[in-house]
């Protein structure tokens, strides 16, 4: 689909004419990210992060495929092959640091992309499917990143694998056999390392596939925009190329500068020193922490410290560990219901005074607290802070959003995107 005024691809040379008949790939690109895709003219910099996420997926795949040529997924030698990459492979240190920090940057841009979606309600009709696919991509990313962190077979790799697969043991009845089956043993070892490597290689291509669906679904209603008012006329849009290719090019440059600053000057700043100690099943690190991008969810997991028991009896209905696991997975799975929880007809947070207060003074500080507590040791006051923040997190999405969308009086919307940009627009006939 496209808007009626979208430019049409016109092959110029004999070769492109021939190609367009046999396999209209240039036409597809032209319509997807070229001049044939009309985009709202008022997108701000928050709309850069989709393209950037795609870019970092490519960085991860390219560096990852080369790293896999030099890495051996065997618990005896894995740690040594990583050091081989760092010391003997030409520019291996650059590849590995780019891959490790590339994962962090992938998450940074994805979190900004998701928060753009939260603030501008990009999940609302007619864009629910784009949102649902986005949540799927995020879940796949988390699985891929977790398995990738196991591969260097350092102390945090090993104990992280132990803790995360241990989550499955919380499931009643089948939990422990399930954990053993997932690991291929009673503890993370060669079997686990091998399957994690296999899946870590596979999943990025699955992500790439879902990204194609995500973009396909995006092209049906077209991009959302900061006013939340749908495109009405040609003057509301500009062609993606050259307008947004130029803007994305500039955004990419800025993010790459930050990325290189980290890769070349602080490559281990986001990692944990313990992962430069080879995995040792007999020595548990003082604090087992996941990578920073999992901290908010780790805080939710650890917030549940008490078993759900019938008061004044010793009958435990749900043990604390299972509560934590349910809450942690639930904290992301509930995003699937977001399009139907927030029914306000107004999309953009700019025109929703009450929603905006809860966003900036509720959700954002809560995420900051969860992030900090997830990286901190499981001591007071971090436990109580993460419990309060977890409670607010669930209340925000499941209780506050539905009620706010019911009672809020939104501010008047501009008639069109053109009016929002230029200050005046004639209502179309």
């Amino acid at each position: 689909m496209s808007f009626a005024w979208a430019k049409q691809y016109e092959p110029q040379s004999a070769f492109t004419k021939w190609l367009d008949e046999k396999l209209p790939l240039p036409r597809l690109v032209y319509n997807a990210v070229g001049a044939g895709y009309p985009v709202p003219r008022n997108l701000n910099y928050m709309w850069n992060f989709g393209v950037l996420a795609g870019f970092f997926l490519m960085v991860q795949i390219v560096t990852g495929v080369v790293l896999a040529m030099h890495y051996a997924a065997n618990s005896e030698v894995a740690f040594g092959t990583v050091e081989h990459i760092m010391r003997n492979v030409n520019y291996g240190w650059m590849l590995r640091y780019a891959h490790a920090n590339g994962a962090s940057f992938f998450f940074i841009v994805i979190y900004l992309h998701i928060f753009r979606g939260f603030f501008y309600s990009s999940y609302k009709a007619p864009r629910e499917m784009i949102w649902l696919l986005g949540v799927v991509i995020f879940l796949l990313m988390m699985a891929t990143a977790f398995m990738g962190y196991v591969l260097p077979w350092g102390q945090m790799s090993f104990w992280g694998a132990q803790v995360i697969t241990g989550l499955f043991s919380a499931i009643p009845m089948v939990g422990e056999p399930l954990q053993v089956w997932l690991l291929g043993g009673f503890a993370p070892d060669n079997a686990a390392l091998n399957r994690f490597f296999s899946l870590h290689f596979l999943l990025p291509f699955v992500i790439a596939g879902v990204v194609i669906l995500h973009i396909w679904a995006l092209h049906i209603p077209g991009s959302s925009n900061p006013t939340g008012v749908e495109v009405k006329q040609e003057s509301d849009t500009v062609p993606f190329h050259p307008y947004y290719t130029a803007k994305d090019g500039f955004g990419l440059g800025v993010v790459l500068i930050l990325f290189t600053a980290l890769v070349f000057f602080l490559p281990n700043a986001l990692g944990h020193p313990d992962n430069y100690i080879e995995a040792n099943p007999l020595s548990t690190p003082a604090h087992i922490v996941p990578e920073w991008y999992f901290w908010p969810f780790y805080a939710i997991l650890r917030a549940f410290t008490g078993d759900l028991a019938i008061p004044f009896t010793s009958i435990v209905l749900i043990p604390a560990k299972l509560l934590g696991v349910i809450a942690m997975f639930g904290s992301i799975l509930m995003w699937f219901f977001l399009p139907w929880l927030d029914k306000s007809p107004v999309r953009s947070g700019h025109y929703r005074p009450l929603f905006r207060k809860f966003f900036w003074f509720g959700l954002i500080p809560t995420m900051a607290v969860l992030f900090y507590c997830g990286g901190a040791p499981a001591e007071e006051p971090f436990v109580i802070l993460s419990q309060i923040a977890t409670a607010y997190y669930f209340l925000h999405f499941l209780v506050i959003l539905p009620i706010v969308s019911q009672i809020e009086v939104p501010k008047p919307l501009p008639f069109s995107i053109t009016e929002a940009v230029t200050g005046k627009d004639k209502p179309a006939e």
Binding site: E83, M86, F264, D274, Y276, E379, Q387
Partner: protein
């Protein structure tokens, strides 16, 4: 409507479970329970700051001090290597410390590495080749533990990356030996356990390693530098930073080229963005 109602009920239920079974009991313990016991040893820990003046490789413009790396290698060879391996480093890597090919050859030969007798196939030893890695001081982990009061001396190849602020950590650890403040120790009943050594810069202040750098002049530097304990500690910390990341300086130098290119390319991208969008954003009245 059903989804929203279900959401509200689920949200309230999760919060109620969290508040009633985790937050409230936890808060009661936190507010009214006994304070957590502090191990007395933590009172003696002092955070060190690394050598005075820092290291030559600190900061984005940092670079190796090759003479220092050579001195540090000498300290490793004469002191540390008795107990600590350096298994990810090969003798050939010493070429990076400005040793000539002949010097590396001779250096490798001065080490004894495990070999196989070509006639009998029995395990034996032979002089090292440049392609060999530094040999292990103990045949296996059990032997290492048995010789060291059950503490296995860690491999040092990556030690400065395996500790927070590792280069400074190594320096602090080597210069942190001494005696605890007697008055304070008597007050809290602190005593260094038998077989361990007091070190104010070690996280729990009781370390199995005996002070490796015990006296000034323990090694005699070929370049005439005075071998004080802080000097030897600085030199070996620098050497171990190099073993942990031989590409450190190359990385920083490459980074400047990449940053320079990106700044230029991003400036061009910004200008073309501004040019393409010129006139598209009229001022609002």
């Amino acid at each position: 409507m059903t989804i929203r109602l279900g959401g509200i009920i689920a949200g309230l239920a999760i919060t109620a479970v969290l508040v009633l079974w985790s937050l409230v009991p936890g808060f009661m313990n936190f507010a009214f329970g006994p304070a957590p016991e502090q191990q007395p040893s933590y009172a003696f820990y002092e955070h060190g700051g690394g050598p005075e003046g820092g290291f030559s490789f600190d900061g984005p413009l940092g670079t190796w001090d090759v003479a220092q790396l050579q001195r540090g290698y000498q300290v490793y060879k004469e002191v540390c290597s008795a107990c600590h391996s350096l298994k990810f480093v090969a003798f050939r890597n010493l070429r990076q410390l400005s040793y000539t090919e002949a010097e590396v050859d001779a250096e490798a030969k001065s080490w004894t590495v495990p070999g196989i007798d070509p006639n009998t196939g029995e395990n034996t030893t032979r002089p090292g080749n440049p392609t060999d890695h530094f040999p292990m001081p103990y045949p296996n982990a059990i032997a290492a533990a048995a010789a060291n009061n059950n503490a296995i001396p860690p491999d040092l190849s990556l030690i400065t990356k395996a500790r927070h602020d590792g280069s400074n950590y190594v320096y602090d650890l080597l210069t942190g030996y001494g005696e605890p403040d007697a008055a304070k120790a008597a007050k809290v009943g602190f005593e260094t356990p038998a077989g361990l050594h007091f070190n104010k810069h070690f996280p729990n202040v009781n370390i199995a390693m005996a002070p490796p750098l015990a006296i000034d002049g323990q090694v005699t530097y070929a370049d005439g530098t005075e071998a004080t304990i802080p000097q030897m500690a600085t030199d070996v910390a620098a050497f171990l930073t190099w073993t942990a990341e031989p590409s450190l300086v190359e990385r920083k130098q490459t980074g400047w080229f990449v940053l320079g290119f990106l700044l230029f390319a991003t400036a061009l991208a910004f200008l073309s963005y501004k040019q393409i969008w010129a006139g598209m954003k009229p001022k609002k009245k």
